[in-house]
């Protein structure tokens, strides 16, 4: 020791109590690990929901009745599904009154066979009337995909210019989309004319449950005239078209259901995190209190040599910070590594939309988890640090007191 410094003394105090130091660092490590993992996970789910909110810009979705769940599964999770309105039903629905925007979409699930390069949901949309996908797809390919062209979701293998085969036809990848956390990530978008051709090829190759003839659609998206009461409107729709087997999905209701599921889940995660934080703080505070008790004599000696109370308190806080830092850092490092390694697994097994936030948000989460873990040690030591002056004086008068 060349100089008397808080740091050098604190380091020496830490290294000569390896077991206690290890325990303290270990607790902070667990805390940091769980906090960082939990926040990352929550942020990805929240981001998934807001991505859907931004992209489901329709008031109502009409789907064949009985396929409401399939439609949600296709939209949210990209579960390949095929369901259809007959062409004459489509004609009828497209003529609905009181709508400001209305557009058909056609879903075709590709096969797991040599006729298709990937198992995806093919989505046909009509760039003329579309108001859902165009604002977003047009960023990639202005005017939408042309003949034998396809725009692919982020998780589909294939880059711009590559050839992909669907139902024995070759398509050129005209654009690739950014990640959305929704079913769109595993979808391939074509224009409605191509989709009708593809549906014919689908039927030829043995695809089932599809109507013959041109003009089928899986889903019709509607924006009602401004000021329309959506509840009443969809209720009337259901009644008026009941014999045509039309089901109405109110997207806001669907999103609200989704959000409330998510809120429940995130609520549980937050409660667990807070509980863990309290538990960790309590255990740390107890360890510091025990350690203060055990070190009364040592602190008393420092007092006798002329170290101020506040310097001793600072010494204890420095020790706690020095112990927290590696624990918090290790927790941060391990949780990030594990998280990004396990992410594909998590996003697949989750039944909720899931999307990684941007880099700044991730950095913020990592920094936040690290900081909270880092200050937990000194915070837990605060009470004991404040008592040092009082406890140490008695200990210097009598040995072993």
């Amino acid at each position: 020791m060349k100089r008397f410094s808080l740091l050098s003394i604190s380091v020496s105090n830490i290294t000569c109590r390896a077991f206690r130091s290890g325990t303290l660092a270990g607790i902070v490590f667990i805390l940091s690990f769980v906090l960082v993992c939990g926040s990352l996970f929550s942020a990805c789910l929240r981001n998934g929901i807001s991505s859907i909110d931004a992209r489901l810009g329709a008031d109502l979705l009409l789907v064949p009745s009985g396929y409401e769940q399939s439609a949600q599964g296709a939209l949210l999770r990209g579960e390949p599904s095929s369901f259809y309105f007959e062409p004459k039903t489509v004609q009828l629905l497209l003529a609905l009154p009181d709508v400001s925007e209305i557009t058909p979409q056609l879903f075709i699930a590709s096969f797991d066979s040599p006729h298709c390069s990937a198992q995806v949901q093919m989505i046909g949309y009509d760039p003329e009337t579309d108001f859902l996908l165009s604002p977003w797809l047009n960023n990639e390919v202005p005017g939408g995909p042309g003949a034998d062209e396809v725009i692919v979701g982020s998780k589909i293998n294939g880059d711009v210019g590559d050839k992909l085969t669907f139902f024995a036809r070759q398509y050129t990848v005209a654009g690739k989309l950014a990640e959305t956390g929704m079913g769109f990530d595993t979808s391939a978008f074509v224009n409605m004319d191509m989709a009708q051709v593809a549906l014919g090829e689908y039927i030829q190759l043995g695809g089932k449950d599809a109507p013959e003839g041109d003009g089928a659609a899986s889903c019709i998206a509607i924006n009602a005239n401004p000021g329309t009461n959506l509840r009443d409107y969809s209720k009337n729709l259901r009644i008026a078209y009941s014999q045509h087997r039309v089901a109405v999905i109110e997207t806001q209701t669907m999103l609200a259901d989704l959000s409330s599921n998510l809120d429940t889940l995130l609520g549980i995660v937050s409660v667990l995190a807070v509980f863990l934080w309290i538990l960790a703080s309590t255990v740390l505070a107890l360890i510091f209190a025990m350690s203060l008790n055990e070190r009364r004599r040592e602190f008393g000696i420092y007092r006798a040599l002329g170290v101020t109370k506040s310097k001793l308190a600072a010494m204890m806080l420095t020790e706690s910070a020095l112990l927290s830092a590696p624990g918090a850092f290790l927790g941060l490092a391990l949780s990030s590594v594990l998280y990004f390694m396990a992410e594909p697994l998590i996003s697949v097994s989750m039944n909720l939309p899931y999307l990684r936030p941007n880099v700044q948000d991730i950095a913020l989460i990592l920094a936040g988890g690290f900081l909270v873990s880092l200050v937990t040690g000194p915070l837990a030591a605060l009470f004991s640090a404040a008592r040092i002056g009082k406890v140490s004086t008695a200990a210097i008068i009598k040995e072993g007191a």
Binding site: M1, F4, Y302, R303, L305, T393, I396, I397, E399
Partner: protein
Amino acid sequence: MLLEVNQATKLYKRGTEEFKAVDNASLSLNPGEYAVINGQSGSGKSTLLAIIAGLLNLDSGQASFDGTDIGTLGDKKLSALRNEKIGFIPQGQCLLSNFTIIDNVALPGLLAKRKNSRERAKALLDRLGIARLANQYPARLSGGEIRRAAIARGLINEPKLVVADEPTSDLDPANSLNIFELFNEIALSGAAVLVVTHESQKPNGCHKRYLMNDGVLLLES
């Protein structure tokens, strides 16, 4: 007068009952003066020393060092006083176990930001005959060696007052004699020395002896 304690009283609580651990005690020391305090266990000797070192507040009376009433000083000034002017050698094993002997001895010097503290520590250890133990940890030392190291630490900042609490309690007669001889030398070099001891004989060179009994301090004539 270097140290002046005037009618000092310190109350302690035992359960709900208060008692006077130090009862109206008065004591004074000039520079170069060497005094001892005798007294039974529990009579309040250590409490009195803690008061002198500014570690305890008085309930009544006053203690002054170099003309300053130490009761008026804040923790920072008191700590500095203790560090620079008072060599306090607490009762029992009072070395820091995670530092070597030389670091223990040099510590108050480093704390006071005095130059050459390690060199002076080395010289003190040499003078006390334990230079060869400089780089050992306290756990490896005998009781007498620990005591001498603690005394060396008390002298590192060349204090005006040296206060020692039973510095020979666990030592054999030869070693005890040695240590009292050392205190005599320190006093001769100009510092005031106050030693609490159970030795009934007045040590060589000692100027005055106090007796403490149930908190009451008497100067032996």
